[in-house]
C-alpha cells in the first residue's frame, strides 16, 4: 500500500475533484491519497466524490489554512 500526495491548494472546486479523478488510474486498491485543498467547498465536494466512486474517506484534518483529506482506494 502506498501513500500518494496531491496538492490542490489554490484551486477552486471542482478542480480538486478532477485532479483526484485523474489520479485514479495510478492508484491501486488499498492505496491512500492525501489531498491538500483550500477551496471553501473542498470537504463537501470530496465527500460527494467518495460516495459516488465508492472510496473511503479516512480523515479530514486542518493544516495551516488548508484541509488535508485522506482517501483510501
Amino acid at each position: 500500500m502506498a501513500t500518494v500526495n496531491l496538492d490542490a491548494t489554490g484551486l477552486r472546486c471542482p478542480q480538486p475533484v478532477l485532479k483526484i479523478a485523474a489520479k485514479m488510474p495510478e492508484m491501486n486498491p488499498g492505496d491512500i491519497l492525501e489531498v491538500l485543498g483550500d477551496c471553501p467547498t473542498f470537504e463537501e465536494d470530496v465527500r460527494k466524490w467518495c460516495e459516488r466512486m465508492k472510496k473511503t474517506l479516512l480523515a479530514v484534518t486542518v493544516e495551516g489554512g488548508a484541509q488535508k483529506i485522506q482517501i483510501q482506494f
Binding site: P14, L18, I20, A21, M24, W49
Partner: protein, 230 residues
Amino acid sequence: MSADKRTLEEVLAAEAELKERAAELEQRIDEFHNSSMEMAMGLSDCFQVLSEVRGGNLGARVSDVTLSSSDELVASIGRALNDAIAEIEENLDTIRRQQFAIEELSTPILQLWDDVLALPVIGTVDTGRSADIMERLLTEVTQRQSRFVILDITGVEVVDTRTADHFIKVIKAAELLGATCLLTGIRPAVAQTLVDLGVDLSSIATLRNLQEGLKHCLELMGQSVEEDDR
C-alpha cells in the same frame, strides 16, 4: 430636478443595483458550482473505468448511469461555457455602467450661489471625459442662465498640455454662452508642470481656491461675502 438631488438618487440607485447584483452573483456561483460538480462526477466515472482497465479488468464498463448521462454531460459542459461567457459579458456591462456613473459623480456641477456654478474636477481628464464635462456644463449654463462658472481642479493631480487644452476649450465654450469662467485650485506641482510645459493660461482667470473664486464672482456681481454671511 436639481443636480444635487439627481446625484443623490443616482448614488442610491447604484447602491441598490450593486446589492441586487451581489445576490444574483452568489446564486449564480452556487448554480455554477453544482453544474461543474456534475461534470466532474461524469468525468470521474470515465477515470474509474480507466483505472479498472489498468488493473487488468479489461471487461470494465462505463456504468449505465454515466452512459445514459453522457449527452447530458456534454450539454452541461456547453451550458457551463455559455454561462461563463454570459457572466463575463454581464459583468463587463455592469462595470461599464458603474464606470459611467462614477464619471458622472466625479464631475458634479453645483450651484454655489445665484448665477454661480462650480465644477469640481477630480482625477484625470481625457478626451472622452472632457467632452462629457463640456456637454454637461454647457447644458447647465444654458438651463440656469448662469453668469459665472468656477472650474475647480483641486482634485486634479496631473495636468499635461492635453488636459490643459481640454480645460481651456471647456472654459472658452462656456464663455461663448455668456458665462464668465474662472479656474481655481491649481496645485503647486501642477502649476510647476504647466510652466515647464509652456502651457499658456494667460487668457484664463485663475484664483487660488474655490473660496477665492466665489468671492471674486460676488465682487463682480456687486455683492460681498460679509453681507451675505450675516
